[in-house]
Symmetry: C2
Subunit: 515 residues, 2 copies
């Protein structure tokens, strides 16, 4: 009897382990909540050491709540424009390696680089990310949602995709490993946020930016951010009911242009005296923040909030130069410039992570981190070891740092590379936009302007606004970083623009110093 009793105990243990797995998966659920074109200052949650004027302009109570329950990253980075960041998110590769350094057109084989007098258009991967295909001018790699899906995760994409052009596999999130796709396609912004305008799908007026898949909300008063949130909750309910771990890529179209009023929130910003554009912009931000709150509430109501990791992130800096109200270089203050720029205003992002079972509440993480890190972090957290992938990763897993803000990650070069031309506004009128490369290493930041082959050096520990160029007073540090940037760019096979006058590529920054 003793032996059989022993076996029955073993049986019970196995059964218990099995039931545990069914009701509380060891593998956490994962959500990347990605906002489009949101600047680090577009929030009432301060990412600087003190509350700044812009923090008082915006109302994002749910970001505040999330930070209170989780970890705020105050040195988080992405690339200056969206497709490069989104491709790095999917592949774990830096844009220097993907050659997706500019935003992709919805039209195939259409180089979005503006014409320039000095440089030929760059031969970058203008068709974006095309997993497993032979599409010309596209980067191949294994996106992590495929790995999550194959490991049993239920993978959902809702919102903006913008990974590849029409006529390429990258246009369709299904090809990136998503089992569900709602509203994601080749376009990088919505034709309209308004259900009254069918998100752009008006017969005879539709452009490539008309948002797909939301017909059920047409002609109602459902703002796009709300429709995406409702769809995300509907999609989440399925793996929750099936006791499957899930990955949700909730990529809001907000707060990208066209800047349109979210009627639910705009009045308070008019009342606060903001100009019309800025009031609308602030309403877009608050509508996005409501979505974040709704998702957190939904997870809690379903009892899965504790083992769900949510990463809040934006894909580039806040729009500064075009289509905003008020003067240039004020929209990300105290940070310099904005979207398109390698200055902090263009690449520093509001990042928050909430995961009650693992990430300490109300914590602040000062490690410099970058979008390339998401891929290895997510795989480690999902327990996927030695994945079969074709690409070389540039990112680093943040898991240890997530568990404790005291953990100091190794110093490594964070590179922002933009060998492209984003805007035809004259270079003098924009800051750090068009043909720039930059590196952050520790607290130092080096900027390399390809047009002039000149450097700027900033000490971010003392000069967050990049106002005091130390390149001439600290040539040693300038040279050191130029060499590190050049070495990193070359190791990753980065592209440099080619001079029309000479037919030669701009020298890598280390070469300026004779390396």
């Amino acid at each position: 009897m003793k032996k059989s009793a022993f076996i029955i105990i073993l049986l019970n243990i196995n059964f218990f382990a099995f039931s545990q797995q069914k009701t509380a998966p060891a593998r956490p659920n994962i959500i990347v909540f990605l906002v489009d074109d949101m600047g680090i200052m577009d929030t009432s949650l301060p990412f600087c050491d003190s509350t700044m004027p812009l923090n008082k302009r915006y109302h994002t109570p749910n970001m505040e709540r999330m930070a209170k329950d989780g970890m705020k990253f105050v040195n988080a980075y992405a690339q200056p424009v969206c497709t490069p960041t989104r491709t790095s998110l999917m592949t774990g590769m830096n844009s220097t390696r993907t050659h997706v350094t500019n935003w992709t057109s919805p039209q195939k084989n259409n180089n979005t680089d503006e014409k320039d007098e000095q440089f030929f258009p760059l031969n970058w991967n203008i068709n974006g990310f095309s997993p497993g295909s032979d599409i010309e001018n596209s980067v191949k790699a294994t996106p992590f949602p495929i790995l999550l899906r194959d490991a049993g995760y239920y993978t959902i994409h809702v919102g903006k995709a913008h990974w590849g052009s029409m006529g390429t596999p990258g246009a369709n999130p299904y090809n990136l490993g998503f089992m569900v796709n709602i509203a994601g396609h080749a376009a990088g912004h919505p034709q309209s946020y308004l259900a009254e305008q069918r998100y752009g799908n008006m017969p005879g007026k539709t452009q490539a930016q008309a948002v797909p898949d939301l017909e059920e909300y047409y002609d109602s008063d459902t703002f796009l951010s709300e429709a995406l949130t409702l769809e995300a909750k509907k999609a989440l309910a399925i793996p929750i009911a099936r006791k499957e771990p899930f990955y949700l890529n909730l990529a809001h179209y907000a707060v990208h242009v066209p800047i349109m009023a979210d009627k639910r929130f705009v009045q308070k910003y008019y009342d606060a005296g903001l100009d019309s554009t800025e009031a609308k912009y602030a309403s877009l931000v608050e509508g996005m923040d409501k979505s974040l709150g709704d998702i957190m509430d939904f997870l809690k109501a379903k009892g899965v909030d504790k083992n769900t990791m949510i990463i809040f992130m934006s894909d580039n800096g806040g729009l500064d130069a075009h289509q905003r109200g008020g003067p240039v270089n004020t929209h990300n203050y105290p940070f310099k410039s904005g979207k398109g720029s390698v200055y902090e205003g263009g690449v520093r992002e509001p990042m928050i992570v909430k995961w009650p079972l693992a990430v300490p509440a109300n914590s602040v993480n000062r490690n410099p981190v970058i979008i390339d890190d998401f891929f290895p972090t997510i795989l480690e957290i999902a327990g996927i070891k030695a994945p079969k992938i074709t690409q070389k990763l540039d990112g680093l897993s943040l898991f240890a740092a997530l568990k404790s803000p005291e953990v100091k990650l190794q110093d490594r070069p964070l590179v922002f590379h933009y060998p492209n031309k984003w805007t035809t506004v004259k270079d003098e009128a924009v800051l750090g936009i068009n043909y720039y490369s930059a590196i952050r290493f520790g607290n130092w930041k080096l900027i390399y302007q390809m047009r002039t082959q000149k450097f700027e050096l900033y000490d971010l520990s003392k000069d967050i606004g990049e106002q005091h160029n130390l390149s001439s007073t600290n040539p040693t540090q300038t040279k050191k970083l130029a060499i590190l940037l050049g070495k990193t760019l070359k190791e990753r096979g980065a592209q440099m623009p080619v001079e029309k006058a000479t037919g030669k590529a701009v020298p890598f920054p280390d070469e300026i110093f004779g390396n």
Copy 2:
């Protein structure tokens, strides 16, 4: 030792059962392969007792192969137009009960009934099927994909949806229980079959019928039927890899208008001397048939063909009156009339079932069956007993008949009800179209024209073409069926059109006989 050995054996049995379930689910995979507007004669597979001239026109080798491997139903029915059939498929209710008796407009609250001098427009459920909502003029019910999904099936919709209008939940297949939706929305036909025309999504030219979700094929030469097939295979690969049972609703847009050439197949039909429209139509049929073959090949290659039940079906009779080449009343010969009609040409469908583990190969089933039967059949096969549903089913499970063609199903009224106006072509020029109701019971068929309140009676065992109206020579059978039709219509709460002259509804057929 004996006792523990016994327990170990038990353990092994359990383990074996578990592994079996993982590699070959007891619950079969299920595919409904639904063609749009395909007539029963639009195929080289004869559904009559002999090969007819139209069988020689068309080339559908994969339908032939499927019938050889499975069971051909030669008395299968649907409703005269598409949304009613599609709603019956999802709900198991006859259209008399759903009040979805006509095709739904993509636009909400838009009655598609043509104007009529005699009758007011019918107050039918013009917004279609809206599961679980409070949308006016829509039918509520629990669609079976929700039940399959909740039972662990991986549910996929690819192709035409057309269950509800824009601005209602029925516009979105996700709300019907599908976890994947590719290309399904509120519209009932494609704006274009051509990738060169982006399936209709040309900037500035897009209508409500532009097919969503297929951007990756734009500007290629991928015909719509092919794109849907490729997407279906991609979607199927996921549950197969995850060892989950699946349900696929592969609902081709083909062979609905616009009648466009599928270049892969059209030349042989030109060469055969068909007129341009008919050649194109035949190419649409063959492109659809290739899709069927590709799906069967894919299942076999993946090793899941044996336990997958595929049901091939069309949603109404072949188009006869409009937009076809050649004279009217020839397109479904020997059957009378076509789409929109309650004559056999409008409601009799090509139906084949293949399921190697359960359905005998190369068998012919003569039981009269109807689209309403799919719901209970699928649930029984999936092992879902006593499902929580709100609707009363009109269909009958066909499981017993699927296992043996010898099983005779109980006689029951099959009702086709069209109290609507489909076409403005004068009634004399079309047959059995606009304001008709009909019943098949055994081999008898009674037709009730609401406009004239007159009856026609046919004996289908001798007169498949409905050429010999027996209503005056067999008043007993006429009365018997009129009473049965009237009783059934009333039991199901069917609607009848209202006369403008009197404000009164047309009498139910039994009332003509004083019942």
